[in-house]
């Protein structure tokens, strides 16, 4: 897979800073652009003067959580994709494709419809994290230790369809007769009408997840040389695996619990950025995070601007971009093999 593009690696930190800057601009664009025109200057001055005008309310209660969640969730998905690809040493590992998002969705749905979510506020994100942990562990048991692409994808299909079945079961057992209907929309993934409390709930778990993933960079670089080499360099592989699984589960689980399963971002971002960082999995982490944030924010802008009614779901938009890419990637790997 590495033979396709070879690009002279650019200077790392300036590149990170540039991507971070673009992500920031995209976040502001997401604040400024919406379904309706909003007089930003008036809204900001109302906020500054503590006036609860309609534009101020819309900016704070609707646009802000949407833009911030877009950036945070996109970062989580891109970062988790890059980390999983490093761990499994396979470019097809995406939280959505291999079933981590599906597991998280089941965890969140089970917590929500069992009524636990009403019991304490963090229940739903924690449910998502628990589901993601189980899915990641199952996956690692099936496809860890340098298994081939085929095994990884098959394991992903299994985990995905099993968590899909369990989600359906949870809905069947739900006392709410419209549960199945509303969850279909939710599973498509969306940032529409999210609220600040949801952001505050997801953020702490997400930040812990990011820390775990980002600090694994040196070990991931070593791992790209092979497990034995990495071990001989003094990296504890068992600890690395635990760290990556926990980090992915925290970041993706918290994201999915708030936005539903948004697929393919974790596949697209590392794929596009890998050549820029000299194919080093450790360096790919941070840039993929920013890349994921940019992709998700742009996709979310697109679903708001494309005049399709009812509005296109975010997960549908990312799948429309991501699925052909996955197809092309598999095709190329097959030809190179």
């Amino acid at each position: 897979m590495s033979g396709a593009f070879r690009r002279a690696p650019v200077a790392y930190w300036p590149f990170v800073a540039a991507l971070g800057g673009v992500a920031l601009v995209a976040t502001f664009a997401s604040l400024a652009i919406g379904y309706v025109h909003l007089d930003l200057a008036a809204a900001l001055s109302d906020i500054a003067h503590g006036r609860q005008s309609l534009p101020a309310l819309v900016l704070v209660e609707l646009r802000l959580p949407r833009a911030a969640l877009g950036a945070v969730v996109g970062f989580s998905l891109g970062l988790a994709g890059a980390a999983l690809q490093g761990l499994l040493r396979n470019p097809l590992a995406d939280p959505g494709v291999i079933g981590v998002s599906g597991g998280a969705a089941f965890g969140a749905v089970a917590v929500f419809y069992s009524g636990l979510a009403g019991a304490f506020a963090l229940a739903m994100p924690l449910g998502g994290v628990a589901g993601a942990v189980v899915a990641a562990l199952l996956l690692y048991a099936l496809a860890g230790r340098g298994a081939g692409t085929m095994t990884l994808i098959l394991a992903g299909v299994t985990v995905n369809s099993f968590s899909g079945a369990l989600t359906a079961l949870a809905l069947n057992l739900s006392p709410n007769p419209y549960a199945a209907y509303e969850i279909v929309f939710w599973l498509m993934g969306s940032l529409a009408d999210r609220s600040l409390p949801q952001l505050w709930l997801a953020l702490p778990l997400t930040l812990v997840g990011w820390a775990l993933l980002l600090t694994s960079a040196p070990a991931l670089d070593a791992l790209s040389l092979g497990e034995d080499t990495a071990a001989s360099l003094g990296f504890d592989l068992r600890r690395l695996r635990a760290q990556l699984v926990a980090g992915t589960a925290l970041a993706v689980g918290a994201a999915v619990a708030v936005t539903g399963a948004i697929g393919f971002v974790g596949l697209i971002a590392p794929h596009l950025l890998r050549p820029w960082v000299g194919h080093r999995p450790g360096r790919l982490l941070l840039v993929s995070g920013f890349g994921g944030a940019i992709i998700l924010l742009l996709a979310d802008l697109a679903v708001r601007l494309i005049p399709v009614h009812p509005e296109l779901k975010l997960g549908v938009a990312t799948a429309l971009i991501g699925a052909p890419l996955l197809y092309g990637l598999i095709d190329r790997m097959r030809r190179e093999a």
Binding site: Y35, E61, L62, A165, E182
Partner: protein, 303 residues
Amino acid sequence: MAKSLFGALVAPRIPFPRKGGRGVRACMHLLAAVALLASPAFAKPQRVVSINMCMDELVLRLADRDAIASVTWLSQDPRNANMAEAAKGLPANNGLAEEALSFHPDLVLAGPFTERSTIALLGQVGAPVVEFGVPETFDDVRRQIREVAAVLGEPERGEALVADVDRRLARISVDANPSPLKAIILRPNGFTVGPGSLVDEILRRAGMTNLAARLDVGAYQQIPLERLALLDADVLIVDSEGFEAPSLATEALSHPIVAALSRRMKVVALPSRLWTCAGPALVDAVRRLAEATADVEAGELRK
């Protein structure tokens, strides 16, 4: 992968009105059924099965209790249905052909969202099925009550029910409001109800005008909260008092911005059971909204 699998597993039967065609088809079915039943006099069906929640209510109001073989499970829940008290103790069905047939019905009443295959199956085995559409005006409501009463062989009760609706509706006389309040509806899943639905007429009779008419939304469409907030309505009608069971659908209703908006406009809670089906409960919906109109006019909350 998971998504397509999931879609197949839980393909939704969308529980909201769609426009067009239905009414006409319902009438055709009705004519056929009436022709069948209209031998010398209406033979009163003795084993009526309803496989639609709205039909449940009319059957429970119009038919002799002894003549009702089964109503749907939805009608046994008081949060869902107006006649839950009466429905209790009657055998419940889930709207499946096999269940309906197990009661050896001499009349099956179906609604617009009954699965096509169920209707076809019932027709194949010769069970007399009558389908009804979604009423879009109060005239449709009166007609539907009379039609259901006719197939149940209880035309007088139908007339009495219509007269009761009209009498109570006449008492709420705000329909000539010269400057109606601007209202917008927020239902679970962020849906709003547009023009061309019964709800539109309910609002008009309560002295309100539906702001959804200004948006390019159909009879029933999702509306982003952002757009809803900036409409600057006088009245926000939310569909609350719904299920106590956890529901993602009602998350939008508990969004902090709805609470913030409630300080700027009148928020009226209107449970969907009052305005989903043709029946006397519609008058209660009009009354609640008319009271809200009066409150706003008295409190000068309007803009």
